[in-house]
Amino acid sequence: MLLGGSVGVAFGWALQRGRFCVNSAFRDAVLIRDGTLLSTWALAVVVQMLGLQALLGLTGLFEPDVPPLWPAANALGGFAFGVGMVLAGGCASGTCYRVGEGMLGSLLALLGFGLMTVVVDAGPLRPLQDALRTPLLTGTEQAATLPALLGAPAWAVGLGLGLPLLGALLWQAARSRGRAPYQRGWPWLLTGLVLGLIGLLAWVSSAAAGRAYGLSITGPIRSWFLYLTTGDPGLLDWGSWMLLGLIGGAFLAARLSGEAKLRLPPPARTLQALGGGLLMGFGAQLAGGCNIGHGFTGLAVLSLGSLLTTAAIVLGAWTASALLFGGVGERLRALRGRFRAPEPEGAARVPVQPTQVPMEIQTQTTTPKEGS
């Protein structure tokens, strides 16, 4: 309980101080071509993966659980989750830390999330989950991971994938100059490194508590809701206390930064958050994890199921963003373009665009029209 709780507090603290949200990371990369959060996420994943593969490769301290590959459930669940998080305005971890900040809309999303995990896992939608969760690689002894697919040792694949990516991220970090003055939270480099470290230590701490997995959100939410409805204390484990710690840690960080306050979005948006939460819970439970369980921790063990789910989440998020916030053409253009690092001081180099339609700000033509 103490093990999970203390990791959770650190996790919540880092999320709040780093303003880390996978939803915003995927969305902003497309919507406003801002790759900062995306880099943060990638850095955190890489640091965690390198650390974990090195630790396990060198010491064999414990045997990590690997999320299975359920192609249908991973793809459909991931996509639904991606759409849901755009509606709810936050991924699983983002929603939780915003609850700590006092966002009541997020609280509603969280409640919807929890409700749907139980509905899918133990309620009327259970047959759907059973039907879609058909593993692709049955009968094989090995877990469905990228190294198993390639027939290479896990640490080698981890290093091969991780080091170049880490190099690229650090190079990008070195290129971007300084900290923007308006930034009150942590710089993205720090956030990414700290989150990676937390992810790594979470594995160790959690394994010591008899749970051979790292950070996750969906499982703990589900176990809390199941526990509250069935009263089976066997449901609560390291992850449950981690989740409580997360919310507490985020509250603490927000409180001490003057960013905690109870606030409610306009009524329509509140409903939208609830709907998004329901969809997220449905998708995450189906896929067996969310942007943390799959998109962070599962990637560190190079699980194929996690890779597929993460891709589906991205796709869902982009689709929903495009439909909600902009034309599809905008999305395609942004897809084509590289994710660029933010350039706080160099921003003036971007010429102002004609802006009749909000979403057309990124048009490639530079001909000034109005006001020139």
């Binding site: 709040q16 303003r19 949200c21 939803n23 915003s24 969305r27 902003d28 919507l31 406003i32 071509r33 801002d34 900062t36 305005g89 936050g90 983002g94 915003r98 900040e101 006092g102 966002m103 809309g105 997020s106 923007a180 003055p181 308006y182 930034q183 009150r184 939270g185 927000a254 930064s257 003057g258 960013e259 905690a260 306050k261 606030r263 409610l264 979005p265 306009p266 948006r269 916030f325 933010p342 706080p344 921003a347 003036a348 180099r349 971007v350 010429p351 102002v352 665009q353 004609p354 802006t355 009749q356 339609v357 909000p358 979403m359 700000i361 000034p368 029209k369 109005e370 006001g371 020139s372």
Partner: protein, 97 residues
Amino acid sequence: MSKLATPVEEKAQAKTDTLHKLDVRGEICPYPLTETKKAMAKLGPGERLEVVLDYPLSLETIPRWAQQQGHRVLTIEELGPAEWRILLEKGRDGGES
């Protein structure tokens, strides 16, 4: 009520001193930003927009976005517990650099 940032470079005084207001308190990702975008699109060059918000992440993304677009971020103020005001000025097309 502490000032986080002070305005610099007031020389490029806006032609029109109209101050538009946008209150996005309560909104979270990504609405503060999308609403700001919409509002800014309606402004003419040099016009100012005051955004009041209470969502920390947008407090960072809005200025970043504005700079990328060539708008000016004049001030960012803390109004009270978890409430901030961003003052933006729409950039002039083509030449701010």
